[in-house]
């Protein structure tokens, strides 16, 4: 007899919202510089919450972790994009990220003038909508990829080992 597995939606929503909010915060979001630790952490959290609801006779798989991570990544990307857009409205956020990347490059080498022109165009107010669109795509890619990793690692860490009695 097959056992129904609990829905992944709520754990993914909680995990995604957690990393989305944390990533949008000015200081806390810097933790993502450690190879997207917040995003991975969101995936791990989602896996932990989902595994708490899973019946003891169900052996969760890494595929479950991956599908959980995909949903977590999408939710998180939506949250972080909305919050980043709000921050952008008050003058901080997306353009600042691009400027920071450029300023680090300027410290060590000459930037081609074409690149400077492109960055100036993107960070000006007239194309900020386009920049936000780029950020949405960026966070979807990063969020889904690293939440998948987090979900899989979370399954590996928190999954209960099936005992011979359950076989």
């Amino acid at each position: 007899m097959n056992e129904a597995t609990p829905s992944k939606l709520m754990p993914a929503l909680i995990g995604g919202a957690s990393w989305g909010v944390a990533s949008a915060l000015p200081v806390v979001g810097a933790v993502n510089c450690a190879c997207c630790a917040l995003v991975i952490g969101g995936g791990v959290l989602a896996a932990f919450l989902w595994l708490k609801e899973v019946p003891p006779t169900y052996q969760a798989s890494y595929g479950d972790g991956a599908s959980l991570g995909v949903v977590t990544g999408v939710f998180g990307a939506v949250v972080v994009t909305i919050l980043t857009a709000l921050v952008q409205l008050v003058g901080l956020g997306g353009a600042a990220q691009l400027e920071q990347a450029m300023s680090q490059l300027r410290e060590t080498q000459d930037i081609p003038p074409e690149v400077e022109e492109l960055v100036n165009a993107l960070t000006s107010g007239t194309v900020s909508v386009g920049l936000i669109l780029i950020l949405i795509i960026l966070w979807l890619v990063l969020g889904i990829l690293f939440s998948i990793v987090g979900g899989i690692v979370g399954i590996a860490i928190f999954r209960k080992k099936e005992t011979p009695a359950q076989a």
Partner: protein, 195 residues
């Protein structure tokens, strides 16, 4: 230490190997009820998709300094892609073509470790079974990196190598996950189902 101590120390491993010697090769341990035991060992198309994606991701890291050296305007987007997930401090990054890579030493090690793990795990039968028998052992691979970050005064070599070690097992788990998503796993004794 006496001459025979090494042999005595290896005896538990030798007994374990004798017990599993005649088992059919798989990604898991036949006889265990975990779903990994039913995932095929061979480098399937799924494997090559996952491996190809990891190599592509790594290639972007190295493409950034090349593009900057060539004066490609769009290269700024490559650096911006990795900026949310890496501090990109030039002094803590490898340099190529006179420019820093898109990510730091540690992140480079992480991505190299992921791809290297995918390359090597199909051949590491004993290690693979050891890891999949108790997946929580993946945490052991993270310990060197944590020590490197919080305890010791790190160098480019320790950052790169500990990052490589940390992500080495993750590639295997991601591969297995991809296989499990694509291929339906047979129900064993009615224990599980797939949505």
């Amino acid at each position: 230490m006496k001459a025979g101590d090494g042999v005595i120390a290896l005896q538990p491993l030798m007994r374990w190997r004798r017990a599993h010697r005649d088992e059919a090769p798989s990604l898991g341990i036949p006889g265990e009820q975990g779903p990994e035991s039913r995932v095929p060992l061979s480098r399937s198309s799924t494997y090559w998709i996952v491996f190809g994606a990891s190599v592509l991701w790594l290639a972007l890291v190295f493409l950034a300094p090349y593009g900057l050296a060539r004066g490609w305007p769009a290269v700024v987007f490559l650096y911006a892609l990795f900026h949310p997930i890496c501090h990109q401090i030039p002094e803590r990054s490898f340099w190529l073509f006179g420019h820093p890579l898109a990510v730091c030493h540690r992140c480079t090690g992480l991505y190299v470790g992921f791809a290297t793990g995918l390359l090597l795990w199909p051949s590491l039968d004993v290690a693979r079974r050891w890891l999949l028998e108790t997946p929580r052992r993946v945490l052991l691979f993270f310990v060197p990196m944590l020590v490197d970050v919080f305890v010791i005064e790190n160098t480019y070599l320790t950052r790169f190598s500990t990052g490589l070690v940390a992500s080495f097992p993750v590639g295997l788990l991601v591969w297995i996950a991809a296989e499990q998503l694509i291929r339906p796993i047979p129900v064993l004794g009615g224990k599980q189902t797939h949505e």
